[in-house]
């Protein structure tokens, strides 16, 4: 079987966000593979290590820099990568059109995708791709097993979690707790340099953004920022309670 894992490259969580010209500026920031997508790559590798015969393909759509994240995926152990290179920002609905076509071309039967993107905070990509392919989906998956063509596992829902079972083909979106992504080892990094990273152009996919991006701004709420020294415990406790009661008026 073929497994596709979707990869996004996002701002490292430790980095500050900067906005210029009405958009988030990433030129001088450290970018990494979205952790949510690392879970997807790791899970694909684990499915294979558990005995499933599979070719694993990492797919990314985005600017030239996105290939760094694909290189990381190759170094983690995926077999090959596809990079649809474009500077056009595609929303999840538009992006799913590209990914669904690639899934069809590659005859994939399982797609793993991040549960929430750390850049656009979007949850839509997995479900949108599933819909385009007429496949079922499970989102926010925290445990997964594959026996033959049957997937079983656990995922989060509105008011708790559920165990599920379904038949391939399917789209699974990942979640914290699914696994602990591995670090690429030096020998694997060396090996990965010989792996295929295929470039495709966006034109052939016949896709246009569904949304217009107007502006971005960082709105930080003004904070009172009264930080007390806690050395004198009773005094600090009494002062805090007094501030919450009489200044902020948030407790009775």
């Amino acid at each position: 079987m073929r497994i596709l894992t979707f990869i996004r490259q996002v701002l490292d969580a430790e980095e500050s966000v900067h906005v210029s010209n009405n958009a988030v500026a990433l030129e001088n920031s450290k970018l990494v593979m979205d952790t949510m997508d690392e879970y997807g790559v790791e899970e694909a590798l684990r499915l294979r290590e558990s005995g499933v015969e599979a070719e694993i393909i990492a797919v990314a759509v985005g600017s030239a820099r996105v290939q760094e994240a694909l290189r990381t995926a190759l170094a983690m152990g995926v077999d090959r990568a596809i990079h649809v290179e474009t500077d056009v920002r595609l929303d999840a609905i538009a992006l799913s059109k590209v990914l669904a076509q690639i899934a069809q071309q590659e005859e994939a039967t399982l797609i793993l995708s991040g549960g929430q993107q750390a850049d656009w905070d979007s949850h839509a990509l997995g479900a949108a791709t599933a819909e385009r392919l007429h496949w079922p989906q499970v989102t926010w998956t925290s445990a997964l097993e594959l026996k033959g063509t049957t997937l079983t596992g656990k995922h989060d829902v509105d008011d708790g979690s559920e165990s599920f079972t379904l038949e391939l083909p399917a789209v699974i979106t990942t979640q914290q707790g699914l696994n602990e992504p591995r670090y690429p080892t030096l020998p694997n990094i060396m090996k990965s340099k010989k792996k295929e990273l295929r470039k495709e152009s966006l034109e052939q996919f016949n896709v246009t953004p569904k949304l217009k991006f107007v502006s971005a701004e960082i709105q930080v709420k003004d904070r009172v920022n009264k930080i007390l020294d806690g050395k004198d415990v009773p005094a600090a406790a009494s002062q805090l309670v007094n501030l919450l009661r009489n200044e902020a008026r948030v407790i009775a």
Binding site: A128, E131, T152, K210, N225, I227, G230, L240, A248
Partner: protein, 317 residues
């Protein structure tokens, strides 16, 4: 029409639905506001929402007893098409965010996700939503004969019923697919306290509470004293001190209470993204350099085992 898909739980219309009604009313469009109720044995839900909208469509079917993304998206897309809806509002819950992309694709419509403000100008809708783990507020536009939007919970004021007589209800017929994902077990979240999503006050604990017992002794005690919900960081959920249902942050819940008290929490961006919109933030941490203090309104630099009992004593005075 503006079509709202009613979210309900335990026989009641959820707060998120009343918030969607406000979002629809504030657009000031001529189009009637229509509520769609999906489920099984939902007559009371339909009657409850009829007090706030122009029209109620009801699909009361045994097949809809259990939520499924393919069933819900098929039902909603069918009704939106038949009713020639110009705007479809779906709750920004886990389920809403899961089936809304399918609806958008069925309708060939743009999808506005997790909307926090919405304005109409002709058939263009301008929305705001958070990006970059809720650090950036982005403005986006969607144009088309129909637009799908999910509304982030806890942002719009819940609507109140109108004075007029309740809206008329209509039963609808649906062509539903067979579900393909089988649910084989369910673990429901249970808590004797107010729910995190609806709480006015949230008291959360992190690794700095020391242990699971420390959480009970400090965080739960303070929460009970204040009538608050409890929250946790991923670090202590991973450690097994608290259930995942209490996790606040990127991969947990998003809260925006009027008071958020962070006890022994460092303030990693993934945690902040779930609580940085809280009205007042209070932090207790022994490290004066902890990032949580950067976004705190009030705080004490000091030791949790000493400070929290003293605060409790002060509150009981």
């Amino acid at each position: 029409m503006i079509l709202i898909v009613v979210e309900h739980a335990n026989g009641k219309v959820s707060k998120s639905t009343w918030e969607m009604v406000t979002a629809a009313r504030e657009l000031g469009r001529e189009a009637p506001i229509t509520a769609l109720v999906l489920g099984s044995a939902i007559a009371s839900i339909a009657a409850e929402i009829a007090t706030a909208v122009d029209q109620v469509l009801v699909a009361d079917l045994p097949a809809l007893a259990q939520y499924d993304p393919e069933l819900w998206s098929a039902a909603v897309a069918q009704i939106a098409t038949e009713g020639e809806a110009s705007l479809l509002l779906i709750g920004g819950s886990r389920s809403g965010r899961e089936y809304s992309p399918r609806v958008a694709i069925k309708l060939d419509a743009p999808l506005l996700e997790d909307v926090i403000s919405l304005k109409a100008n002709g058939d263009t809708l301008t929305a705001q939503h958070y990006t970059y783990l809720a650090r950036v507020t982005e403005t986006i536009e969607a144009t088309g004969p129909i637009v799908v939007a999910t509304i982030k919970p806890g942002i719009f004021n819940p609507a109140t019923p109108r004075a007029e007589s309740p809206a008329e209800q209509f039963d609808v017929d649906l062509n539903l697919p067979a579900p393909r994902v089988q649910v084989t077990g369910k673990t429901a979240e249970r808590s004797s306290r107010v729910s995190l999503a609806e709480a006015e006050i949230v008291v959360s604990g992190g690794r700095g509470v020391g242990s699971a017992e420390g959480f009970t002794q400090y965080v739960e005690a303070l929460a009970d004293q204040l009538g608050a919900a409890v929250g946790a960081t991923r670090a202590i959920v991973d450690a097994g001190w608290r259930p995942y249902s209490e996790q606040v942050g990127q991969t947990g819940k998003t809260v925006q209470p009027k008071l958020y008290i962070a006890i022994g929490i460092s303030g990693a961006v993934q945690h902040l993204s779930g609580m940085n919109k809280s009205k007042i933030i209070v932090a207790i941490n022994r490290d004066a350099e902890a990032p949580i203090f950067k976004i705190a309104d009030y705080g004490i630099v000091g030791d949790v085992p000493q400070l929290v009992p003293a605060i409790l004593a002060e509150l009981k005075k």
